[in-house]
């Protein structure tokens, strides 16, 4: 069977207790000899590896040798053309509250100018203009609570 994480396809076949994995033209023999509470004890080409894996929908949190990666599992079909590109759309990087709105719709702004101030975890996060342009639409007001990824403002290139 095939699995795809972060655009890398792994071809896997199982032969009883061992797995044969192919990725990037390399073939690896692996064995899973114990799993418990998200911990996997693996033998990969003869080397013992201790890994921790958690799943959250398509996301996989993987820690091996003290290093943590967040991988995204895709359904197999290769995507072409990449992600949607919402150029000019500025979103909240985390949930929080809008502390200040420094611009109005139609304002011409310069690259780096602070458009909005978001407060989260007692910290101020300033939303800057990514390039020179015009504020097209404001979606939030001062004091409003916003969710992660929520669109706050859209911009048009000047």
């Amino acid at each position: 069977m095939k699995l795809n994480f972060n655009g890398v396809t792994l071809d896997i076949s199982s032969n009883g207790k061992t797995f044969t994995l192919t990725l990037d033209d390399k073939t690896i023999q692996a064995e899973v000899f114990h799993t418990e509470n998200g911990r996997l004890d693996l033998l990969v080409d003869g080397n013992r590896i201790l890994a921790y894996v958690s799943s959250d929908n398509a996301k996989r949190w993987v820690t091996v040798n003290g290093q943590t990666f967040v991988l995204t599992k895709s359904s197999g079909a290769k995507r072409s053309g990449g992600k949607h590109d919402h150029a000019g759309e500025l979103t909240a990087q985390m949930p929080g509250q809008i502390r200040a709105v420094n611009v109005s719709e139609g304002d011409a702004v310069t690259k780096g100018q602070t458009l909005l101030v978001l407060e989260a975890m007692k910290m101020e996060i300033r939303i800057h203009a990514p390039q020179d342009g015009v504020v097209k639409k404001l979606f939030v007001k001062q004091g409003q609570t916003v969710e992660r990824e929520q669109v706050l403002v859209t911009m048009e290139n000047g």
Binding site: F5, A51, T63, N65, K73
Partner: protein
């Protein structure tokens, strides 16, 4: 001695204080907000009182509700922890008026040191060296003039502040007005007081602080230094003691200045006198005094061999602190790393979510003060500190090795943490050489996540999908009272 103490805080520090209470045979009362209904600190307490909405203003900063909770539960004392109301003189006063004991210094000491402007004036009078700057500024014109006279870069900071909140480095005049506005807003929000002061910004300096401790009978000593220069956004992330830059002579000199500073405001209980030290001249300047227990108190506890929280409680109850300065010594080396839910690759932005995995390291010389467990949610309402990892070893080199090994075994999934970042700092030669100054993270340290996932992580993810993930029963209710864990219904699966 007290029979019951209310802990007016949350997270790891609330749990840390409850442990000390239990050891002393004192009952504990937790307070909690909506967001903390199922928080770990609530479970550690003998009693728990709901005090309001998730927003700190409605709960952990609400003095009346906290004092009411103490009265209702017949607690005799309140421990404020750090942050929130810990350095609020009017809270300390209200606690006393309600015939309860505030576990900390007197309201007068807090007031004197809490006002960064007033404290600087007092320190000058007491003969403690201070950073050049101006206090009592009001108009934009005042700020402009003061900044010019001090000379850019300047530091704008909240007169009522602490912990890096309401503090901005201003590199030139064009940045001044926006920095002031934003610092005022942050200060007003964090401390309810928007006054700012300006001082000379000393960029390449070490932040070195001295723990002081006193009883109500006139014994006041210092418990040596803590080096806290590894910072981002003016907030500490790694602290250690002792620090090699301090010669025995300099340590003695700074220790004496710290005691003098504390004496000048009639201090008792635990406090910290912060200095900045110029590594080239070894000149030191008083920065501020924190009139509370510090986040990083455990490194001092390990090296000096005292339980600071137990002693806070005992001296608040009127006991004598039995050690003289001569009896106190430093043994070995201790380092603390603050494990934050934040993304170092994206400007250290806080990260929120449900903890899918939370495994703390264990072993000789390893201590973890933590406020979370797997299944808990990290929300945007509070500081993103997940846990403190503290190690103690016979010398600095071994302590660094121990910390690096322990960090490797700290597993957190569900929120992005700074664990990989801390690991990179500890392995950097500047850190090993003790040359990290307060701006080092921003200016000297180039760190990036590896752009590609490791080979092993891909293999592990694939094998996990085949052996565990696809076998897990669907869990529908993620926000239920039980901790969410994708693995909780699985027993040890063996492939062979």
């Amino acid at each position: 001695m007290f029979k019951k103490i209310l802990i007016a805080n949350r997270g790891e520090i609330a749990i840390r204080i409850m442990r000390a209470c239990k050891e002393l045979g004192i009952k504990t009362v937790a307070v909690y907000s909506d967001a903390d209904k199922n928080a770990l600190h609530v479970r550690h307490a003998d009693e728990a009182i709901h005090i309001g909405d998730s927003s700190p203003k409605e709960s952990y900063l609400n003095m009346d509700k906290i004092i009411d909770a103490a009265k209702k539960t017949k607690a005799d004392a309140i421990h404020p922890g750090y942050g929130f109301l810990s350095e609020n003189a009017s809270f300390a006063g209200k606690v006393a008026s309600a015939k309860l004991t505030f576990i900390g210094p007197s309201a007068d000491s807090i007031r004197a040191m809490g006002d960064k402007a007033e404290s600087k004036i007092r320190m000058k009078q007491a003969g403690v060296p201070v950073v050049p700057g101006f206090e009592g500024l009001e108009s934009e014109n005042d700020f402009n003039k003061a900044a010019k006279e001090v000379g850019y870069p300047v530091l704008v900071k909240a007169a009522a502040g602490g912990g890096g909140k309401g503090m901005r480095v201003v590199n030139n005049e064009s940045e001044l007005s926006e920095s002031i506005e934003s610092a005022q807003r942050e200060a007003l929000n964090a401390f309810g007081d928007e006054r700012l002061l300006i001082e000379k910004y000393i960029p390449n300096a070490h932040h070195i602080e001295f723990q002081v401790f006193g009883d109500q009978h006139g014994n006041l000593v210092h418990l040596f230094e803590r080096e806290c220069s590894v910072q981002r956004r003016h907030q500490k992330i790694i602290e250690e003691t002792p620090f090699p830059l301090l010669t025995p002579h300099l340590r003695e000199e700074m220790g004496e200045a710290a005691v003098k500073a504390a004496q000048a405001v009639g201090y008792f209980n635990a406090g910290t006198v912060e200095f900045i030290v110029d590594p080239d001249t070894l000149q030191f300047y008083f920065l501020e005094m924190n009139t509370r227990l510090q986040v990083e108190h455990p490194v001092t506890e390990l090296v000096v061999g005292l339980d600071l929280v137990q002693w806070q409680i005992r001296v608040a109850a009127g006991e004598r602190f039995p050690y003289s300065q001569e009896q106190l010594t430093q043994r070995g080396h201790a380092i603390e790393c603050r494990i934050y839910a934040e993304d170092p690759a994206h400007g250290f932005l806080p990260s929120t979510g449900v903890l899918l995995q939370f495994i703390e390291p264990r072993g000789p010389g390893i201590r973890v003060d933590s406020g979370f467990r797997a299944g808990d949610e990290v929300t945007h309402f509070y500081d993103p500190l997940l846990a403190k990892l503290i190690v103690h070893a016979e010398n600095r080199e071994i302590a660094i090795q121990r910390m690096r090994a322990a960090l490797k075994e700290f597993i957190v999934h569900g929120v992005i943490t700074n664990i990989d970042f801390l690991q990179a700092v500890l392995s950097h030669s500047d850190f090993r050489n003790g040359e990290v100054t307060t701006r080092w993270v921003e200016t000297n340290f180039n760190w990036a996540l590896p752009s590609e996932p490791s080979f092993e992580s891909l293999i592990a993810a694939a094998l996990a999908d085949l052996t565990i993930v696809n076998r897990q029963p669907k869990i529908e209710n993620r926000s239920g009272p039980d901790p969410y864990s994708p693995w909780k219904n699985l027993s040890g699966f063996r492939n062979s």
